[in-house]
C-alpha cells in the first residue's frame, strides 16, 4: 500500500514538473526561439539583470499576490464559516453566486471590470488589480476552506461551548487550529490565482505599472524571449526558499487530528 502510494506520488510529481523542468532548462538555452539542441548559456539571466521593466513587473506581481492572498483568505474564510456552519435563507443563492467569477472567462470579467472601474472612477493601477484579484480568489478560498470545514466535526465546537466557551472563543481555540491547513492551502491558492492572473491584470494595469503576467501576455505578439524563463526560474527558486522557511515555521498539511 505504502509503496503503491509513493509510486503514484512520484508519477504525479513527474507529470507536474515536466513542463516546469522545460521552463527552467530553456532559461539556460541559447536559442531565442526555444529551439533545440540545447546550448547552455547564462545570457538570458544577464539580459534580465538590465531589464528594469521586467524586474519592476515581477516585484509588482509578488506584491499584488501577497496582498490578494491575505485579504482573500480572510474574507473567504469568514464567508465559508457562515456558509457551512450557519443556517439562513438564501444560502444556496449565495453559494451559486460564487460560480460566475470562476465560470465567466476572465477575459470578459476583465473587460467588465475595466469598463465599470472607469465609470465609477476606481480607475486602473495596482489598487484596481488587487480589487479584481481578491474578488477572483474569494470563490476559491470559500470552496477550499468549505471543504476543510466539511471534514471537521462541528460537535467539538459545540462541546467547547457547552463547557462555557463563547462562540468566538470556541472557534479560536478549537476550530481555528484544526482549520489551519485549509487556511494555508487556501492562501497558497489565492496567491497562485493572483500570480497567474494575466487577463484581468492586463486590463487593470495602469500605463507603466505592470505585472509579470501582463508583460508576458503583451509580449506574445512580438515574441517573448527566454528572459521570461529566467525570471520565472528566479521566482520559482524564491518560492522554494520561502516555502522552506515557511515549512520550518508551520506544519502545513501535517497531522490535523490526533489519531
Amino acid at each position: 500500500m505504502i509503496w503503491l502510494g509513493r509510486a503514484i506520488l512520484a508519477l504525479v510529481l513527474l507529470f507536474l514538473y515536466a513542463p516546469i523542468a522545460v521552463m527552467v532548462l530553456m532559461g539556460f538555452n541559447a536559442s531565442d526561439l526555444y529551439a533545440l539542441p540545447f546550448v547552455p548559456t547564462l545570457h538570458w539571466f544577464s539580459e534580465l539583470a538590465g531589464n528594469d521593466r521586467l524586474i519592476a513587473a515581477s516585484r509588482n506581481s509578488v506584491l499584488v499576490a501577497l496582498v490578494t492572498a491575505v485579504v482573500a483568505t480572510a474574507l473567504g474564510t469568514l464567508a465559508a464559516l457562515a456558509l457551512s456552519r450557519r443556517s439562513f435563507r438564501g444560502k444556496s443563492l449565495l453559494r451559486l453566486l460564487l460560480l460566475p467569477p470562476i465560470a465567466i472567462p476572465w477575459l470578459i470579467t476583465g473587460t467588465a471590470m475595466l469598463v465599470f472601474f472607469y465609470w465609477t472612477g476606481i480607475g486602473r493601477g495596482l489598487h484596481a488589480m488587487i480589487l479584481g484579484h481578491v474578488a477572483l480568489a474569494i470563490p476559491y478560498v470559500v470552496l477550499v476552506v468549505g471543504t476543510g470545514l466539511a471534514s471537521l466535526r462541528a460537535d467539538l465546537e459545540e462541546a467547547a461551548m457547552s463547557l462555557g466557551a463563547t462562540p468566538f472563543g470556541a472557534f479560536r481555540s478549537v476550530t481555528l487550529p484544526l482549520l489551519a491547513p485549509s487556511l494555508v492551502a487556501a492562501a497558497l491558492f489565492a496567491f497562485a490565482v493572483s500570480l497567474d492572473q494575466f487577463v484581468v491584470s492586463y486590463f487593470l494595469a495602469a500605463p507603466g505599472v505592470t505585472t509579470l503576467p501582463v508583460e508576458i501576455y503583451t509580449s506574445i505578439r512580438k515574441g517573448f524571449t527566454p528572459e521570461i524563463n529566467a525570471v520565472s526560474t528566479i521566482l520559482l527558486g524564491a518560492s522554494v526558499a520561502l516555502f522552506l522557511v515557511f515549512a520550518g515555521l508551520t506544519r502545513i498539511g501535517g497531522e490535523r487530528e490526533r489519531r
Partner: protein
C-alpha cells in the same frame, strides 16, 4: 452548487440542534461573516458583470457603435443563427468532461497517497511540491508543453532514446494535447480539495472495514469514496467551470483543432469587437454549466438519500 453542502449537512447537522440561546444574534453574526466577501464581490465582479449582462441585450457595442442604443435578445439565439456553435460547444463540454474526469482519476488517488503513504515532513514537502508549479506563469507553462509535445519535441526524443524505431508520439495540435495542458493546469485543485476531504478519514474506520473481511475495492467504494465526495465535487467545480471558458490552452496546444467556446468568446472581444455577442455567449455558457451542475447535484442527492 448545493452538492457540496450535502455531506457537510450530514456532519454539521448536530450543530443545528444546539441551544439557539447561546448564539448572540445569529442573524447579525451571519451577516457580519458574509458581508465583507460578498460586498467585495459585488463591487469587483457582480456589478461589472451586471453591466456586461446589460450589454448582452444590446444590438451593437455600447462603445463606438454607429447605431443608437437598440435592445435585442437576438444574441441569445446565437446557437440557432450560428449552427456551427453547437459543434464548438460540444467540443468545450468534451474538454470539460475529459479534463475533470482525468483530474479526478489522478487527483483522488494522489490525495489518498499523500494522506496515507506520507507523514510529517514528507507529507508537507509533497503537498507543497504539488502546489508549487502553480506559482509559475500559465502561459509559460503552456509554451513549455508545446516543446514537450510537438513532433520531434522533447517527449519524442526521450521515447526514441528508449524505443528507437517507433513512430512519433508528438501530440501537439490535437485534442489530447489540449487535455494534457488543461489537466496539468487544474490537477492541483483536485489534489488539494480531495486531500482536505480524505485527510480526516480515521484509520480505525478502514481497519474495521478490512477486519470485517472487506476487500480493498469494497473499502474504497463504501468507506473512502463517500467521505471523499465533498472534495471531488468542489474539485470538479473548480476545474470543469473554468475549463469550459478556457482559451489559451486550446489556442496554443490545439492548433487547427483548438476552437472552443472560450476562443469564440475571446474573438468577439479581441477581434470582432462584438461585446454583446461575446457576453451573451458567456452567459449562455454559464447557464449550461449551471444546468449541468443542477442535474449532477440532483442525481448525487438521489443516490445519497437513504
Amino acid at each position: 452548487m448545493s452538492a457540496p453542502s450535502t455531506p457537510e449537512g450530514r456532519r454539521a447537522r448536530p450543530s443545528i440542534a444546539s441551544p439557539e440561546g447561546r448564539r448572540a444574534r445569529p442573524a447579525i453574526a451571519t451577516a457580519a461573516l458574509l458581508l465583507p466577501a460578498y460586498a467585495w464581490l459585488l463591487v469587483a465582479v457582480f456589478l461589472p458583470l451586471g453591466a456586461m449582462l446589460f450589454f448582452s441585450f444590446l444590438k451593437t457595442n455600447p462603445f463606438g457603435s454607429k447605431a443608437p442604443l437598440v435592445f435585442t435578445g437576438a444574441h441569445y439565439l446565437a446557437f440557432v443563427t450560428r449552427p456551427y456553435l453547437v459543434d464548438v460547444a460540444i467540443t468545450s463540454l468534451r474538454l470539460g468532461f475529459w479534463t475533470t474526469g482525468i483530474c479526478a482519476a489522478i487527483g483522488l488517488p494522489t490525495a489518498l497517497a499523500i494522506a496515507r503513504a506520507t507523514r510529517g515532513r514528507v507529507r508537507q514537502t509533497v503537498f507543497l511540491l504539488a502546489i508549487l508549479p502553480f506559482w509559475t506563469n500559465g502561459l509559460v507553462r503552456i509554451f513549455s508543453w508545446t516543446m514537450l509535445l510537438r513532433q520531434g519535441g522533447i517527449l519524442d526524443d526521450l521515447v526514441h532514446l528508449v524505443l528507437p524505431g517507433v513512430g512519433s508520439v508528438g501530440l501537439l495540435y490535437s485534442f489530447p494535447a489540449i487535455v494534457v495542458g488543461l489537466v496539468h493546469a487544474y490537477l492541483p485543485y483536485m489534489i488539494l480539495t480531495c486531500y482536505l476531504a480524505v485527510a480526516g478519514i480515521d484509520d480505525a474506520l478502514i481497519d474495521a472495514a478490512r477486519s470485517l473481511g472487506a476487500r480493498l475495492p469494497t473499502v474504497f467504494a463504501t468507506v473512502i469514496l463517500p467521505l471523499a465526495l465533498p472534495g471531488l465535487v468542489s474539485g470538479s467545480i473548480l476545474i470543469f467551470v473554468p475549463v469550459i471558458g478556457s482559451f489559451m490552452e486550446p489556442r496554443i496546444l490545439g492548433g487547427r483543432i483548438g476552437v472552443t467556446m472560450g476562443t469564440v468568446i475571446e474573438d468577439q472581444f479581441t477581434q470582432a469587437y462584438n461585446w454583446p455577442l461575446g457576453s451573451a455567449l458567456s452567459f449562455t455558457m454559464l447557464g449550461i454549466v449551471l444546468a449541468i451542475f443542477a442535474l449532477f447535484s440532483s442525481v448525487l442527492r438521489g443516490r445519497l438519500a437513504p
